[in-house]
Amino acid sequence: MPIETDRTTALETVDLCRHYTMGDSLIRAVDGISLRVESGEFVALLGSSGSGKSSLLNLIAGLDHPTSGTVAVQGRDIAKLSRTELARYRRDEVGMVFQAFNLIPTMTLAENVELPMRFAETDRGGRAAAVAKALDRVRLAKRIRHRPSELSGGEQQRASLARALVNWPKMLLADEPTGNLDSRNGTEIMDLIRECNRDLKMTILLVTHERALAERYAERQIFLADGKLIGDTAHGGGTVAEGFVGGPTLAAPQESA
């Protein structure tokens, strides 16, 4: 259930499309998606692989340009930003966590976490404290001088979360963060993400194909299939989705080709 406080719109997409051509065929990765997310919401984007949920997340993250439509973040259409402005947006307003962790292997945890602050031109004097604070939040304060290869998968994902948090973004985008983890480590990272939502009031967009995980952590689930939005629990629970694919509770589009 969405918490009805004085929420503002964090994100709004209108008729958002991202099409690619691969060989002769046109792939509609994202195909006319319109949705609205309030600030402070914890939203799960659910769908099978190829449903377009990662493509949608990339558009929201400002890593990719839409073919058509708008992506408004805090009322600003990021589809219209220049490459430099988009880089600034990624740096200051969103944090990303990936399935593959994406830590730079040649850097220690501290250096990995410091990296976004280098791009943000944060004052050097305050960086060590910020790194320590971020790593402390994900309970890795003791591994600060280690390289990613010396850590377990769960620890690496926590480090990557710390890196996403270090510039204190308003929105956290997590692309299958538990995909490469066992359930214990998965739970641990999801707990930390929930803390960000609850304690830091961050808007969370979680991409996953695990229905159970989404139901456990997210206050709202959005279902995607073939680049289209097919259900949204915010609009009459699962019933909207039920109309399309026989009920999201039964058929979270796990294996729909």
């Binding site: 880089a87 200051d92 990303m96 994406n102 990296l115 280098r118 050097r124």
Partner: protein, 483 residues
């Protein structure tokens, strides 16, 4: 991204692929070393040649003669300017006036006379000439046996080898070198020189006879003007001079087998006296007689003046100025200009050959950085996802290229310098073997050190343009896509 962060990331990236980057840097170093080597050689040869020319005194010297001297070097000059009869005398006032002209280093009178010298009581006839103190720097004295004059007015003499041979009683075609034991034995020995002293006297009722004067010690020039026998105008006075036969002792300070007088030489077999010493002797010279027929002044007149110009390229200006004063001049045309042109062309070609190695090294940089992009594709994607702008990525690659260029440049200059030392040492061993004085054929000036490093950095940055812009344009979504 701020510069310190950029440099930190760049050095960390260079360290990560240490072997590849070290080899690339070494390539630049070799390129820069070859460039430095080529240019240093050119510069060294040029400075050697111009120094030799400057020291020879051939190109910065103007010889000034009076128009009244019909034995002038260039007859065509006499057609312009005042007629010989109206032109000025070449005296001390003129000398001082010339010395004040711009770009003139010094103007020295030449005193030359043929006289008899005695060594171990045997008489020899020889041409006596004089040298100013500044002549000590001429290369004719580089290989001199003995020493240059101990002071500007010392009663000393430097002999040319031919004179020394004569004094030793050896034939003119003797193979005796100036540093043989017999020659060395002459150094420090005493000579007696006979000369005619020009002594100014007033028209006194009883003029001193040469025979009487020779017995008394000369008391220096007497006041020239007496005005007893009429007035011939301002510049003239009614005075005369007597000629006294005198002798003086000279100590042999050195023997040279070269000609320190360059183009004024006029045959070998001379002895040289310090200029100041010779002036104080008041030796009578032919021009004294000539000038005396017109207007006699107490000042000594000179046969020729030698004017040294501060820079060979100014010879023509100075020559023009002196000609306007009403004198004849002679100089060898500025040959250093064409020499400099030759060396600029030589330097250009040496530089081009040197740069070829650097061009090859630059291709190495392009290759290394393009490889780095392929290898670090994912890393670039991550950096972009974390907020690195295209410019940040571009700058990072430029910083890496620039750092390799700087290190390679510095290493290359060091390598080139070391190579130069080795070649210099080798050349000097060879020269010593040939009994020639050592030379610096290899000069690495400071501007070349700085210039070579800057050049290496610029070349590296140019080589980095393509890889850097390719890395910057990388699409983050594709870069992050799982392999």
């Amino acid at each position: 991204m701020k510069t310190p962060d950029l440099l930190e990331l760049a050095t960390r990236n260079l360290r990560e692929a240490i072997l590849r980057n070290a080899l690339t840097t070494l390539g630049i170093a070799v390129g820069i070393a070859s460039l430095v080597a080529m240019l240093s050689l050119g510069i060294g040869l040029q400075s050697m040649a111009t120094q030799r020319l400057a020291k020879s005194g051939l190109f910065d010297t103007i010889v000034v003669t009076s128009r009244r001297d019909f034995r002038s070097f260039n007859r065509s000059e006499e057609k312009t300017g005042p007629a010989p009869a109206q032109s000025r005398a070449l005296d001390e006032n003129t000398r001082l006036e010339i010395e004040k002209l711009p770009n003139v280093k010094e103007a020295t009178p030449d005193i030359r006379f043929i006289t008899e010298i005695r060594y171990e009581n045997k008489p020899h006839l020889t041409l006596v000439s004089t040298l100013p103190p500044s002549a000590a720097g001429k290369d004719a004295f580089d290989s001199m046996e003995g020493k240059f004059f101990s002071s500007p007015a010392a009663p000393e003499a430097i002999l040319q080898r031919e004179v020394a041979l004569e004094l030793l009683g050896l034939p003119e075609d003797s193979k005796e070198t100036i540093n043989s034991a017999a020659m060395k034995s002459l150094i420090g020995k005493e000579l007696t020189m006979k000369y005619a002293e020009r002594q100014a006297v007033s028209f006194a009722p009883t003029p001193a006879t040469p025979a009487a004067a020779a017995k008394v010690k000369p008391e220096g020039p007497l006041p020239a003007e007496s005005g007893q026998f009429g007035d011939f105008g301002e510049s003239s006075s009614t005075a005369s001079f007597s000629v006294l036969s005198r002798e003086t002792k000279l100590r042999i300070s050195g023997i040279t087998d070269q000609d320190p007088e360059g183009m004024k030489g006029g045959g070998r077999g001379r002895i040289f006296l310090p200029l100041k010493f010779a002036q104080d002797l008041h030796v009578m010279v032919p021009s004294d007689l000539r000038e005396n027929t017109r207007s006699f002044s107490s000042q000594p007149t000179y046969l020729t003046l030698t004017v040294t110009v501060s820079n060979p390229s100014r010879v023509q200006d100075v020559q023009e100025a002196i000609r306007k004063m009403g004198f004849n001049t002679f100089s060898i045309f500025d040959a250093t200009r064409s020499l400099r042109r030759f060396f600029s062309i030589l330097d250009l070609f040496l530089g081009i050959f040197g740069s070829l190695a650097l061009a090859v090294a630059s291709i190495g940089i392009v290759n290394t950085l393009v490889m780095a992009i392929l290898e670090r594709r994912r890393e670039i994607g991550i950096m972009k996802a974390l907020g690195a702008s295209d410019i940040d990525v571009k700058k990072l690659f430029f910083a890496e290229a620039g750092a390799m260029g700087f290190l390679g440049g510095a290493l290359g200059v060091g390598l080139g310098w070391f190579l130069g030392r080795v070649i210099n040492a080798g050349t000097n061993v060879f020269l010593k073997h040939q009994d020639l004085p050592p030379e610096n054929v290899w000069i690495v000036p400071l501007w070349l050190v700085g210039g070579a490093i800057v050049f290496a950095v610029i070349m590296s940055l140019l080589a980095g343009i393509y890889p850097a812009s390719r890395a910057a344009k990388l699409d983050p979504v594709q870069a992050l896509r799982y392999e």
